[in-house]
Symmetry: C2
Subunit: 367 residues, 2 copies
Amino acid sequence: MGSIPTERRKTRVLVFGSGGVGTMAAYALEDGGKAEVTAVLRSNFKEVLESGFTINSVDHGLIQSWSPSHIRNAMLNAESNSDPQPYDFIVVATKNLPDIPPDVASLIAPDVTPGTTAIALLQNGLNIQRPIIKAFPHNPVISGVPYIGAIEGPPGTINHVNHDRLIISPFYNGNIPREDSEGAARQFQRIYASCPNVTCIYEPRVEEARWRKLLYNASYNPIATLLRMDTSRMRASEFIIDELVRPAMKEIQATAREVSKVYLSDELIETIIRADNYKAFFRPSMLQDIIKGKLLELENIIGEPVREAQKAGVDTPTLKVLYSLLKGLQFQIKEAQGHLRVPESDEGLKYGMKQEGPDAKMERMEE
Amino acid sequence: MGSIPTERRKTRVLVFGSGGVGTMAAYALEDGGKAEVTAVLRSNFKEVLESGFTINSVDHGLIQSWSPSHIRNAMLNAESNSDPQPYDFIVVATKNLPDIPPDVASLIAPDVTPGTTAIALLQNGLNIQRPIIKAFPHNPVISGVPYIGAIEGPPGTINHVNHDRLIISPFYNGNIPREDSEGAARQFQRIYASCPNVTCIYEPRVEEARWRKLLYNASYNPIATLLRMDTSRMRASEFIIDELVRPAMKEIQATAREVSKVYLSDELIETIIRADNYKAFFRPSMLQDIIKGKLLELENIIGEPVREAQKAGVDTPTLKVLYSLLKGLQFQIKEAQGHLRVPESDEGLKYGMKQEGPDAKMERMEE
């Protein structure tokens, strides 16, 4: 495995996504001393090139004009092919938007050396590994479940408010030996954990870590987004927890058990319901996205759990309605961003006007 | 029944609510020549007192500085007791907000002459008659289901865009003879229908008219409100109709059949799905309310159908989630209007912070 570096050189890591999660990962990896990081920057390339990152971190303190070993402009991505040396790891910390091109696989393809580069997905949700394994069947794929409150403010400025805790697991893949998948995951965990100020844990069972985080992400995130409401107000109302949040969590619990033999306890559900700091009136990431008019990361966070439940015959009435409503919000964000166009006339639409008989007229509904 | 007037005088009608529905009702009643209307005005009293209503109506044309026979300031309502003559009819065209005081019954109480005044509820939703019959057990109560696109713009200015079609039925009440309930309803229908430009129909089966309108109001209204989306975009998306609107309508259909033996056809559902004029990109009333930060009329439109379904053992998974989400929106509107206060600390809250063991800490969910 080329992903095991010789003693002579540092591990070569390419980081995609330079928002909160990606930048803090790049920092931890370099701070640990075992990695040489190249960060691929998109929206903030110009600012970081000129004056580096400004990081205000609960773990690392205030860090000014910091840059990883190398930065690269995402817009010139194709040129990376000219780089002779392969990357040992590619860290993907972008938002996961399979419903909007380009997908993650085509984004990283120019930098993946077949059979060599291990791909670490520091992203939320279910089945994120599938398109990656399909595109790179002979490369190890690693799961990273991040617990880190890190948000980019102005371009190049990161505010990191909660301790960086990263849970690493292997995504197994029939095309390569299990020990190679495990070896790559363990090596990445060691490199990341060698930064003294962060917590990076290896968990053999990837499904457990992913379903556990979905308890929160598939319930509080969609409901907060639809209501444009912080999680403390939801708890103060009580009925939002009793009628929406807990039922959604119980449906994730039932689906995890049926689909992945992962057993999430009722006690864990009650703990997660109360996990946010009440006084912070916290707005989950998806709510922050819709307020900014950004696309919602909904397919892997709620779409895949709903589809897996359906296949397994698990009833998820709450999640299904929440998912369809979120798709309705996404539809409008896509329209606003020009990804789709709504016709001004209903000609040829599936739900265009009917030929109007008197009955149809009688049922005009405007109040 | 005192609600049957002598030939010598016009029928005395008091109209509560001077928005679109109430003002157009007041106009039709006076225009028909058989009624002498007193309108109780709240937000627009000053404007109407000074310069009357300005009405731009699809049925009546442009009408300027119009007033009913009498107007009264809602703020001085108690004084109405001094009026010696009883009202034959009270028309209630206010929004129905049982979750916010004052309720309709206490609003109209000073003007109801026991055993005499008939109360016509020109409001949407289910079970709106129950608190009225409870408060006035010996007065006839009349159902009015309005189909009229009439909205108040600036105070005293009404824009009326769809033909006024009003469906009148009796609400039966064990305390008074059925023929009295029917007589009062038929008399009101005659008085209203004597205006040549409107359509006012008598239907003996009140449940049918109410459930039929709920097909639209319990589906398009809540979904448009949660998505802040017009009904044409919903139809253009297709999946919003297939996954949310039609399922909600089918649940109303099933509940109407089980609870009221009212049979609403699938063909009617498909007609109502396409009923709005696509090119108008229509925003249902509840969506217009949330955009303006006004309280939502949700209890009788979706709360009661959900509760009736639950009692009857009808499964309404879509309506239940939509209802709970709408209550979450209403919670925030109530807070904004000062009807409730959200505590800054979680002390003593049902969903306050748990004593934190390491486990709880481990599950902090902020991303």
